[in-house]
Assembly symmetry: C2
Homo-oligomer: 343 residues x 2
Amino acid sequence: MGETVSHAWVLKRRPQGRISREDYEWVETRLSEPGPDQVLVRTIYLSLDPTNRIWASDMDQYMPPVELGEVMRGGTLGVVEASGHADFSPGDIVQGIWGWQSHYLAEGGDGLTKMPVMPGVPLDAYMSVLGATGMTAYFGFLDIGKPQPGETVVVSAAAGAVGSIVGQIAKIQGCRAVGIAGSDDKCRHLIDDLGFDAAINYKTADLDASLAEACPDGVDIYFENTGGSITDAVFKRLNLHARVPLCGLISHYNEFDGVTGVRGPNNYQQVLMKRVLIKGFIIIDYFPQFPQGIGEMAGWLAEGRIKYRTDIVDGLENAVEAVNRLFDGANTGKLLVRCSAEP
Amino acid sequence: MGETVSHAWVLKRRPQGRISREDYEWVETRLSEPGPDQVLVRTIYLSLDPTNRIWASDMDQYMPPVELGEVMRGGTLGVVEASGHADFSPGDIVQGIWGWQSHYLAEGGDGLTKMPVMPGVPLDAYMSVLGATGMTAYFGFLDIGKPQPGETVVVSAAAGAVGSIVGQIAKIQGCRAVGIAGSDDKCRHLIDDLGFDAAINYKTADLDASLAEACPDGVDIYFENTGGSITDAVFKRLNLHARVPLCGLISHYNEFDGVTGVRGPNNYQQVLMKRVLIKGFIIIDYFPQFPQGIGEMAGWLAEGRIKYRTDIVDGLENAVEAVNRLFDGANTGKLLVRCSAEP
């Protein structure tokens, strides 16, 4: 097969504010055929996630920041094109975090997980509801939120990849699900397609009044994706012994410059008065429990009790522009880049 | 015995900022001899606590606010002077929260708990280390903090009634104890008398540099009493899976006007990055477990492993001025008002 031309986005400088084209360099490399124990993978899907903005900053964070000159980090799914490794064969579907590149030459199969592809499940599902995104919703909500039937659950960024799954699991658990999202279309989608009980467009609504109406019995679980003024408003309505799984603070990520910290919620006195539990989590802490979570989620998916939506951008060359869709509120569901066709 | 003259501080208006003399009215009443099922108690000790400022505000809080025209709420210990109730006899030592008044006529013994006074234990211990204060330290630190030997514990308001006990329990658990307090004298007291490993005077030190020096391995447990800039600095140094028992936010209490919320910590992104647990608590949630906690604390006290200090102000008439000592940083240890002599 000879040489393979690979393209990659390499981090050139730390973003200030919004991620821009100038923060990255589009690099072409030539990969030789895989030698012994090497595996050549072609990227099919690249996952774009709010945490990309964290990785691009040098803020103190949960993994080492991406270094300048490195290929940008990102969750990936691909297909083995050629292999010198006994455990991998051409056509195998593999997952990893080899990042924003069209091809990856893995030494000794490092960082590749072979996917047991289930019949009837499309590949993008493994990058959303049955991948890290779905598991973030599953473990954050169930393990930290500990929902009880009849409780009220509020989710911010509810039309996003994680939030949309959280609300649906809340319904499965017998809770009232209230979503906060950034457009009337998203709010309609939450109620009409995903079964949320109520949805609030934070860009146009009076948040205090809308939350009072949508949560007449207060808020027992606030699944936190955003921080900022949404959180300030929700905190006012937290019930005694409320739980706040802290999954993200996306409204602040574009401030990340390695120096400026994120301001905590106003109405923080509620944590004391209402004996609230706030717990930050990162999905990597739950990796060992993935088989159980994916198993239950796949069951709900098969029963039609969980729906998911992917927002697919074609072409790795469009990744930099596409990632800002997460911060502009432009996407609904899981944002993916299709780098090449499914086999 | 005839009539008893009782004095009380009645809440006249909601404090704005610091509690002032004009917020309260000094009221004299005459109590008749106790009739059937009534118990007349003379107050010996009144507990002054930061939460008094919360109760005096009409902010949404964990108990109903004290109403205007009501006797100010407060933890109390007293002696039965006369009784028409079969369960109470003159000379019995009783505890309750009958508030800022010199005498209390209890209907049916309501709100009175008879104290099983232990030999050799002075009465003020029941209002500090063996009372709600000591139990706040005990349950907040052990139940939420879940200390492990070798971990680093930072305590704010460390020379206060709760903080000084937390640091000593941290040492008993094999932790490194670092206290933050507001004077060099307090810092010396923490290290020399109470066995803290390090102490920082937040009024004069460079907090970031001092914390870095005092906590070379980061912070595993931050026992939160203050909020504000101390918290902002500690949050920067939180370790992976750090725990933050949230006991108080005293630096903000004088802002409580029923409208303005407390700002949360800066560097709140750490909750996510380090997967931090923050849990607010109020000691009333632990009432059922008091016997176990008091038992263990009394053992430590008898062994000399826990020391406590009371800061006693004489005269109920001085209570209003005295409560501000808590916010001025003027007290060390448990602040009490001695309303009348011990029997």
